[in-house]
């Protein structure tokens, strides 16, 4: 086929590692969902809700998310530059360091080393490790692109470059802290300023971990797996620049009605509404791409992962901006609505897209076909049902919570105590556990399918040798 070797081992290593950390994160998530309605399932000190929650979020954002991003970005990078990675040994070291870092991160969070900055909980020695990981990634990304054998840089490379740059800025600034011992530090910023920095980071971590690298995958693998070119190159250019420009203004929509200066909140809300446009630029591009031949939804099992994935991205990027509006925020902020929103993005958009990429990559590496399209379809329907049930349940209970918290009697006193509102959540929280179980079973089908494909591939390689 070609006279050079792609470093498939590193790509595969990252993919399998990310699946492993994903399983850890999902299992922890299930236990958390049970603890919500059964406090006797807290096992102090390591398995209490407060400590486990950050293991869940970090395990999935950094273990599953970043692991998949590293591996799949390397895969895309080699194809779009038509050359191997510039530093393949460094990439291999990157993989090992990544797994060591995630393992240490999990241990430190179980031990209660927690900066209490959401999505930036890791203490300063691990922050330095994360920065090293990121620099290694950046060196290989830029080195490989500079030495590429293809003149144009395809859209996916733009999104990967934006990810590398933006995450570096965000992560370093928000993690600036005053060390107070080997495992303890204090944020360099205080009070409202600390809040502003944290949510500038927190929201853009969503933007540049759960959005731009996943769009890089989407723009590469959708045309690859359907054989249809992206609908509009011009639209993808407009969407790219307006997304990267608009995102960084919006963090303060997490701080609506807090003591943060009003003008920062308002500016954030305005730009959040603006972001609907570039987000839907990619949604429209995805739909119109497949729109050339909708029968692909039936005939090509990967198409529905990508199309439903981008559909959830579309829903996510309308729901999110709606939540930023003051009139909506006052009702749903701090309620279970918000985890419902987040999980549509992570379980719908991110996990579906990543899973589809892995379904594409693993058979390619072994020069074979997927083990079973039927199993992939069962996986698809289970995660779809699990995720919808999760999100819808949380939206309902969130609205109920918000409405009961603010309900007042005719004489102006509050209608419900906090406990009365909380006790109404239990049936929904129990349903959420069921939803999580359905999703988990779906993911087990996925893992089984990947495992069997690798086995099949290895047998083929052995037969040839």
């Amino acid at each position: 086929m070609s006279d050079y070797q792609y470093d498939n081992q590193t790509v595969k290593g990252f993919i399998l590692s990310s699946i492993f950390w994903g399983v850890v994160g999902i299992v922890v998530g299930l236990l958390l969902s049970i603890q919500m309605w059964s406090p006797s399932h807290n096992f102090p000190p390591f398995f209490t809700f407060g400590r486990l929650r950050v293991v869940h979020t970090n395990g999935l954002a950094f273990g599953l998310g970043i692991g998949a991003i590293f591996g799949i970005s390397y895969y895309i990078l080699m194809r779009l530059t038509k050359r191997p990675l510039l530093f393949p040994k460094l990439a291999r070291f990157h993989l090992h360091l990544f797994n060591v870092a995630i393992a240490l991160a999990a241990v430190s969070l179980f031990a209660g080393m927690n900066q209490s900055l959401e999505y930036a909980e890791l203490e300063w020695p691990l922050d330095i490790g994360v920065v090293i990981l990121w620099v290694i990634f950046a060196v290989n990304v830029f080195g490989t692109i500079i030495k590429r054998k293809e003149e144009q840089m395809y859209i996916s490379l733009w999104y990967i470059i934006a990810t590398v740059v933006a995450v570096a800025v965000l992560y370093i600034v928000n993690n600036l802290s005053i060390p107070a011992g080997l495992f303890k530090s204090y944020h360099l910023f205080a009070g409202v300023n600390s809040a502003n920095v944290e949510w500038w980071y927190g929201h853009n971590a969503v933007g540049f971990i759960f959005t731009t690298p996943i769009l890089a995958m989407f723009y590469y693998f959708l045309p690859k797996s359907t054989g249809m070119p992206i609908y509009s190159h011009r639209l993808s250019i407009i969407a790219f620049w307006s997304l990267t420009f608009g995102y960084l203004w919006t963090g303060a929509h997490h701080l609506v009605y807090t003591p943060l200066p009003d003008w920062i909140q308002t500016l954030a809300i305005v730009f959040t509404i603006f972001l609907i446009a570039p987000s839907w630029g990619s949604v429209v591009n995805g739909f119109y791409t497949v729109g050339a031949d909708w029968s692909k939804m039936r005939t090509n099992y990967l198409t529905k992962f990508f199309i439903w994935g981008i559909a959830f991205y579309g829903l996510q990027t309308v729901q999110g901006p709606t939540q930023a509006l003051r009139v909506v925020s006052q009702l749903i902020h701090y309620t279970d609505w918000v985890p419902g929103h987040v999980h549509m993005g992570t379980m719908g958009w991110v996990t579906m897209t990543v899973a589809a990429c892995i379904y594409y990559i693993i058979p390619k590496i072994y020069n074979t076909e997927i083990y079973s399209e039927k199993v992939a379809n069962i996986h698809f329907w289970l995660v779809l049902i699990g995720q919808l049930m999760f999100s819808i349940t949380m939206w309902i209970t969130g609205i109920q919570q918000g409405a009961m918290w603010k309900a007042v009697n005719p004489d102006g006193t509050l209608k419900y105590t906090f406990m009365e509102v909380l006790s109404k959540n239990y049936p929904y929280w129990q349903l959420r556990t069921v939803a999580g179980l359905i999703f988990t079973v779906g993911m087990l089908f996925f893992i089984y399918n990947i495992h069997m494909t690798i086995r099949k591939g290895k047998a083929l390689v052995a037969a040839k040798a």
Partner: protein, 199 residues
């Protein structure tokens, strides 16, 4: 448009992307950081004592922000339920801020002074004995973790908070639970509050 040199030169592309992401960052983050409105401090606000800071560290260690907020919004029902809405100047000594983002449990911005110490001790040990339907984990085990005074002193120094040597020696024998209760009692006390009408 797509044929421009921008899409052929990765370094130029990275520089342009950096500028593009920094515009919003400068306006909404770096600029306000340099103004006084981002560094307000109420007159009555005092730095944490060693015991209170140790309690705040426990609050962070146990991930309390996962379920409790510390900011009362200026909304009618919220002020009725929790008390006076939060002021920007209350948080000058909070590094980081601990406003949280989810209320599985109630907001704690006005918890200081609301109940006696013994209430908190007993509630941490067994929340369900107070509220049968509460889903809060039990935290009585924090009693078994004794504070390390030299660690707390190092933390006070890192933050530049004033303290007397006997405040450090007084930490001997105190538990993480004692510290957490002391922290509960100081939260939000820089603001005079009218009594809340219900829980």
């Amino acid at each position: 448009m797509a044929n421009s040199v921008l899409y052929k030169n990765p370094i130029l592309f990275a520089v342009v992307v950096t500028v593009v992401v920094l515009i919003g960052t400068v306006v909404t983050l770096f600029y306000p950081m340099m103004t006084a409105e981002m560094h307000p401090k109420l007159e009555g606000l005092k730095p944490y004592t060693p015991l209170e800071l140790a309690g705040k560290d426990v609050y962070q260690q146990e991930g309390c922000i996962g379920c409790h907020t510390q900011t009362v919004r200026p909304l009618k029902a919220e002020v009725l339920r929790y008390g006076e809405y939060s002021k920007a100047g209350e948080f000058a000594y909070d590094q980081p801020f601990l406003w949280g983002s989810k209320r599985t449990g109630p907001d704690l911005a006005r918890i200081g002074g609301k109940y006696p110490d013994a209430w908190h001790q007993m509630h941490f040990e067994d929340p369900q004995s107070f509220f049968a339907e509460s889903n809060m984990p039990k935290y009585g085990w924090l009693k078994n973790n004794k504070l390390n005074p030299s660690d707390v002193e190092a933390h006070m120094k890192a933050l530049g908070f004033p303290y007397k040597p006997d405040e450090i020696t007084a930490l001997n024998g105190k538990s993480e639970l004692d510290a957490l209760v002391a922290y509960m009692q100081v939260i939000g006390t820089a603001v005079k509050k009218p009594a809340a009408q219900t829980e």
